[in-house]
Symmetry: C2
């Protein structure tokens, strides 16, 4: 790993403490000539570890960490791009870690960020509520600034972060389906331990209530946000011969799984069953028929999250602690038409 402080001290014929003082810009007691000699040797040796050693003193490392739960769900790479571009614009490096929805991995990565002296952390947390609580406590205990992205906790005063108004998005989609005459709508929920899923479920229920339509809860099923779960759950419904005329899925990946299940049974979309997803990942416009979905400003969420975190790190005020972005129902080919 190259040269050490010891090597430099030996070559300059001074103590290690003197070298350390020069490296850390605390060279008041060191003569100018000695200082220049040490700096010259450092340059000649191409001494690098200094940056790490200096981290102990100067604190700021101009690096941010971002933890996402599932790198293979295209929603999160899109979010990461927004954060990355913003970090780069402000001169910060962004380190991305994939927790694979494991609270243990998430905690290990936060610890690794602490060890690496990351200036701040963005957290799109795993699916467990207790996990996110303990990750937040860990970050607070070491006083590292953080912002939550996308996934948040129940409570009157959520932590600093950028979120989507998930309930409004789900309400819009369900309300469209109900106003279009559907009475038996399947809801393929994401994991209900995740607040985003939970609020989408609330929006689904609220729209039914407002439209005076009762929900048959045998049509509500919990998936895991992955394509395969959407496919399997809808296949199971078809096998159980439960009637339904529309499917609203908690994310696009599960909605695409639902499309595949319907198509494999020859069920016509949107003639026989209308389908709506949530997220608007790139894939949703590429499948056939193209998926109607509740669009999130995903890239923007990453941008705003990074902006907010950098403001906190640099000691500037933030205008609001919680930003809620607005979803938008985007009509494509898996729905018939909006009712005027």
């Amino acid at each position: 790993m190259g040269s050490t402080i010891k090597d430099i001290a030996r070559l300059a014929n001074v103590s290690k403490a003197t070298v350390s003082r020069v490296i850390n810009n605390k060279s008041e007691g060191v003569g100018e000539e000695t200082k220049q000699k040490i700096l010259r040797i450092i340059e000649e040796l191409n001494y690098r570890p200094s940056l790490l050693a200096r981290g102990l003193v100067t604190k700021r490392t101009h690096s941010l960490g971002l933890i996402i739960p599932d790198i293979t769900n295209p929603f999160f790479p899109q979010l990461a791009r927004g954060a990355e571009d913003t970090a780069a614009k402000h001169g910060y490096s962004l380190f991305l870690c994939n927790s694979d929805n494991s609270p243990e991995k998430e905690q290990r990565y936060i610890e690794a960020f602490i060890e690496k002296r990351i200036d701040g952390v963005m957290l799109a947390s795993s699916i467990s509520k207790s996990a996110i609580q303990s990750q937040i406590q860990l970050l607070k205990s070491v006083d590292i600034p953080f912002t939550l992205l996308d996934r948040y906790l129940e409570g009157s005063e959520p932590e600093t972060g950028v979120f989507l108004d998930n309930q409004a998005g789900a309400y819009q989609a369900t309300d469209y389906l109900l106003k279009n005459g559907h009475r038996r709508i399947v809801f393929v929920a994401g994991p209900l331990g995740v607040m985003t899923s939970w609020y989408r479920f609330q929006g689904f229920q609220m729209a039914h209530y407002d439209n005076g339509v009762e929900i048959d809860y045998s049509l509500v099923m919990e998936g895991d946000y992955q394509l395969s779960s959407g496919k399997e759950l809808v296949e199971r419904l078809i096998e159980a011969e439960l009637e339904f005329t529309a499917i609203f899925a908690g994310n696009d990946m599960m909605a695409i799984g639902a499309l595949k299940a319907l198509q494999s049974r020859g069920i016509k979309i949107p003639e026989t069953v209308e389908v709506i997803g949530f997220d608007n990942i790139e894939l949703s416009s590429l499948v056939e028929p193209a998926l109607t979905t509740v669009a999130q400003p995903t890239y923007e969420m990453g941008v705003k999250g990074a902006q907010m975190l950098i403001r906190v790190i640099e000691g500037e005020g933030i205008p609001e602690r919680n930003v809620y972005l607005k979803p938008e129902l985007l009509f494509r080919a898996t729905t018939r038409h909006p009712v005027g």
Copy 2:
């Protein structure tokens, strides 16, 4: 940032050097009673920065870095998953960085990895040949172990890494099309500065040579590996009224773009034009018609790259410096049928 060595020294009534010796497991000269007292205080203070400070002594940080050029191309998240899972299995954290195909960003991230004392780096480099050369030199100058993933340099002795036999894959796809009677095959190349693209182009040419078919080079076009470029290039060909009966694209994203261009003109796939992609990203089985493609063992590439890097870091030998994985032509619905 919590407690410092100074605080601990004050509370234990010993020198900072003594505390440092205990933290760094070099406490030969320290009495057992003093040592226990210091360890108790460390525990009470929940002292964390020690891990960073210890990095200066113990060197190993059990963390790996992975730089990918485009996180929104699903090929790379898949690769990262393979690397992540393997790193976790061996007790390493994996820090992922997105270079956005920018050699400057790539270099900044490598410098950040060096500052953070990452134990080793995996590099799926950006598109520039000179960039990859200078990144490799930077890593060598500080003696950090690294392995290349997917993207490599021309030369008799490539650096340690895991690659695909790109030429063989492209040969297979082109040979199938030629044996199926096609004489005017469009080749939508990736950026030809990237060696993977270049070797795919070589395979395309070699198959023509072996089959005694001349190439019309006006059908060879260079894209940028993104969906939009595949779409635009094929639209341009159609507008120019150039004849062709098959398209082979340098990756799936561009092949899917080509599908969209053909479909928007009402050109039937595979009846009028056969299409083959490269990579086998998840998306390729989800588009309609499902894409025939040259499948890469992408996840496995990440696994093998991480295994190789960890062996190097831990001082174990590696059986071979370069691993070439085998691609496989996977027939789906954008081709008619293999010729027996």
